[in-house]
Each structure stands twice: as C-alpha cells, then as structure tokens.
C-alpha cells in the first residue's frame, strides 16, 4: 500500500516523513522522524506521556493521525531547550527533583509549557487541573507542581 508523504515543521526545522494513513502521529514521530522523546504510556489519551504541541494546540499524539500533520508546526520535548540553554521548566524540574523514573517527564514538560504559554501565572489549583491529563506514578505530583510554579516565577521575572 502506498504511504502518505507528510511535510511539516518539527521543532523549528523543516521535516518530512512517510507514514501510513492510519498511523498515529506518535508512531510517526518515534518511528519515522526518530524523535523518541514522546512516549506511549497508554495509547488512549489517558496518560499524556505522548504530549506534543501541533499548530499551537497541546495534544496527545497517540490520538492524532499522522497525515493530519501535513503543513503543521509541531513542537516536542526535544525542541524545548535552545541549544544548551534549558527552558526554565526543564531547569526547574532538575532543581526541584520533579522526576523519578522520568518516563512521564517529556509529556509533563510539553504540557506545562503549553499551560504557561496560555496562563503565565497559574495558581496551584490551575496547575493541578492543567496537568490532570498527565499521569505520574512516581512523584505524587508534589515536586512537579512546585517546579511548574517555580518556572512560572522564573519566566515572569525574566
């Protein structure tokens, strides 16, 4: 069966890949584009480990068909740092010990960035509800929420 040719922008760079019509964007990113930062934790949109931003919208890439990416601009965890300069969220996650096993971390970072882009000064409750689509089984969320709040402060002060 012939495959679909997709041209898009990933993390600021022009990208193209071939995918199957029914392949998910998550599988295409991981298997076709070689970006394994987004993880499959559930495949049903319930854990958020596959979070990416496409055309300004935070998504579970496991629930997006890869051909939908035609012409789209996609951001993944791999594009968060500017060269060696970590995004404040990445830095705060490191300093705040917001990760244990780290498999949910890429999804949390992408979702938290989308949250802060939309709401630069969230309350604790807004952070908790804003990240409710991302499951972490290691941390009890305490240090994740604190790190997002700390990053918001960093961003707002700079």
């Amino acid at each position: 069966m012939s495959r679909v040719h997709v041209t898009c922008t990933i993390n600021g760079d022009p990208a193209e890949f071939l995918c199957d019509g029914g392949q998910t964007l998550l599988d295409a990113l991981r298997d076709e584009a070689g970006l394994t930062g987004a993880k499959e934790g559930c495949g049903t949109g319930d854990c958020g480990a596959c979070s990416v931003v496409m055309d300004g919208r935070l998504l579970c890439s496991c629930l997006v068909l890869a051909p939908e990416a035609e012409g789209a601009t996609i951001s993944t965890v791999e594009g968060m740092a500017a060269g060696d300069d970590l995004h404040p969220l990445q830095q705060c996650f490191l300093e705040g010990a917001a990760l244990q096993c780290g498999v949910c971390t890429p999804g949390f970072l992408v979702a938290a960035k989308a949250l802060l882009d939309r709401n630069p000064d969230p309350t604790e409750t807004e952070v908790r509800y804003g990240l409710a689509g991302n499951l972490c089984r290691c941390t009890g969320y305490d240090k994740i929420v604190r790190s997002v709040l700390a990053a918001a402060q960093t961003v707002n002060e700079s």
């Binding site: 019509g21 949109g45 919208r57 051909p67 689509g133």
Partner: protein, 293 residues
C-alpha cells in the same frame, strides 16, 4: 496501529459528502478521541478516516442575529475560550470544558460527543436543555434536527449512511435565563461521568420560574429529560420544596444500570442530588443580570 486505513481531509462539506458516498466504509471524525481508542480495543477499522477539521464551517463559531452556530468539529478548547458562548450558555460551556484533559480539549467537539452516542457524554444533556439544533449534511442535502433526536441508544444515532453533523445552532436565551451542568466522577478529572445533570432556568421578573429544562446523562441509554421536575419548578421559586421535588423527580426519571462505573441505585440517588444542585446553580445565575449576554 491502524495502517491499513486511508486518510482523507476534505475542505468542503460537499467534498466530504462525496467521499462518504464513494466509500460506504468511510468514517468521519473530528478529534478521534473516542474513535482511536475504540479501534485499538477491537472495533473494526474503517476503510477511510475522513478528517472534518479542514472544512472551515465545521470549526467556526459565529453569531447570526440571535442564533449562534458552532461547527461540529470545533475543539471544545475554542468553545471554552469564546466569551459570547460562555456568557449565554455557561453550563454548556462548562460541560464542554469537562471533557478530558487539556490535551483532549484540543480535539474534542460537540459533534463527536453527540455522534459517538455514549450515554455518559457530557455535552448532550446541556445541548438538549438549551434546545440546540444539529445541522446534518448528507447525500440528500442538509437537514436540521433537534440535538435530542441524534442519539438513539448507546453507540447508535439517527444519522443515516453518508450523513454527518455540520454545525449546531443555539438561540440566544431569553432574559433571566441561565444553565448549569454538574457531573459525578470518582476523581477530579479524566473520568467518564457516572451521572450528569443539566438544567436551564428562566425566571420572571418576580424571581419565580417561568421556564425550566432538566436533563440527565449516564442514567439511561440516551439523555433523559425530567418533565416532572420542570413542572414542579414552573411558577415557583427555585428553592425549598421545589428543589426537593426536582430531586425526587430526577431520581424517579433515571433508569440506570449497574456497570463498572457505578450501581443503578447509586446513579439514581445521585441523579436527584445533581439535578437539584444544577437547578439551584442555574437559577442563581439567572437571577444575576451580569451573567446575561
């Protein structure tokens, strides 16, 4: 996962109708937030996935005169961000915002929520108390039906082959009118409603109920209207005995089942509680002139 399927992204309603006509085993989708998990769980794969989101009309929110039109594939995130809708239909917008996470909100839509025909869907009870109409396109052209006429049972709709929902129409509510939606989930987020209750209340100038609509989700194969609650409210102040009557009527109207998400007895009891609370919230909102658009 689904690699045998083809993908199509029409840019006009007519093109989508033609695609569906050419391939009976094609399936339209907006967010696919229900469809992809269903296929993963073993539902047969359609031959073609028809993505409706590149049709402008399907994703547009507009107001023509006193009527709002909301594209059936409009992400609920956009609906929640729309000041006009939030002012006119606070309960419906809250129900829209309850569907899943922020990630899901980028994809979920009224069209998908209604056409997927889950008895537990969050927006249908609110669409129904607001007397929303669904504009449906198909091989025979377009037709408009009440939103309450779309779902006919779990996973079943009145849409015939080749038809899909294009947009919803909602009339600007009369003065002193507001709606509310409450649902019961075990967690704070990410769950399917165990019970949902929507209410819309219109008050007269004296603060008594002039019109009322109460609808329940997840307590029957389709959304249940509660006419006894509506009768109990009209002509009375939305408090005290009237609310007790609403609770009793809602519990009586519920026709739930035992399943993995709750027992029938629990659902019946909580349907009454949520209906009563939703009516109280809607009435409180209706009494606040600032809440009106």
């Amino acid at each position: 996962m689904l690699s045998a399927m083809k993908y199509a992204s029409p840019t006009t309603v007519a093109e989508a109708v033609d695609l569906l006509g050419a391939e009976p085993d094609a399936r339209v989708y907006a967010g696919a937030t229900d469809l992809i998990p269903q296929i993963r769980a073993g539902r047969p794969e359609p031959a073609v996935m028809v993505d409706l989101k590149r049709i402008e009309r399907l994703c547009a929110i507009a107001r023509r005169g006193s009527t709002y039109t909301v594209g059936a594939a409009t992400p609920t995130a956009d609906i929640c961000a729309h000041d006009g809708l939030a002012a006119a239909f606070p309960g419906l917008v809250e129900a829209s915002g309850l569907i899943g996470s922020d990630q899901i909100q980028s994809r979920s839509s009224w069209g998908g929520n209604l056409a997927n025909a889950s008895p537990a869907a969050d927006t249908p009870p609110s669409l129904i108390v607001n007397e929303a109409r669904a504009v449906i396109a198909g091989p025979a052209g377009e037709r408009t039906v009440a939103a309450s006429a779309v779902a006919t049972g779990p996973g079943a709709t009145s849409l015939s082959g080749g038809e899909f929902i294009v947009e919803f129409e909602l009339d600007e509510p009369p003065a002193r009118t507001a709606d509310a939606y409450l649902r019961l989930i075990p967690r704070t987020e990410m769950d399917i409603a165990v019970v949902g209750a929507a209410a819309r209340i219109t008050l007269d100038a004296a603060g008594t109920v002039a019109a009322a609509a109460v609808a329940l989700g997840a307590v029957a194969p389709t959304v249940v209207r509660v006419p006894d609650a509506e009768v109990a409210l009209i002509g009375r102040r939305p408090s005290g005995d009237a609310l007790v009557a609403v609770e009793a009527a809602a519990a009586a109207a519920a026709n739930p089942i035992d399943d993995k998400r709750g027992t029938a007895a629990y659902r019946r009891q909580v349907a009454g509680v949520l209906a009563r609370r939703a009516v109280a919230i809607a009435a409180e909102r209706a009494s606040q002139p600032g809440e009106q658009s």
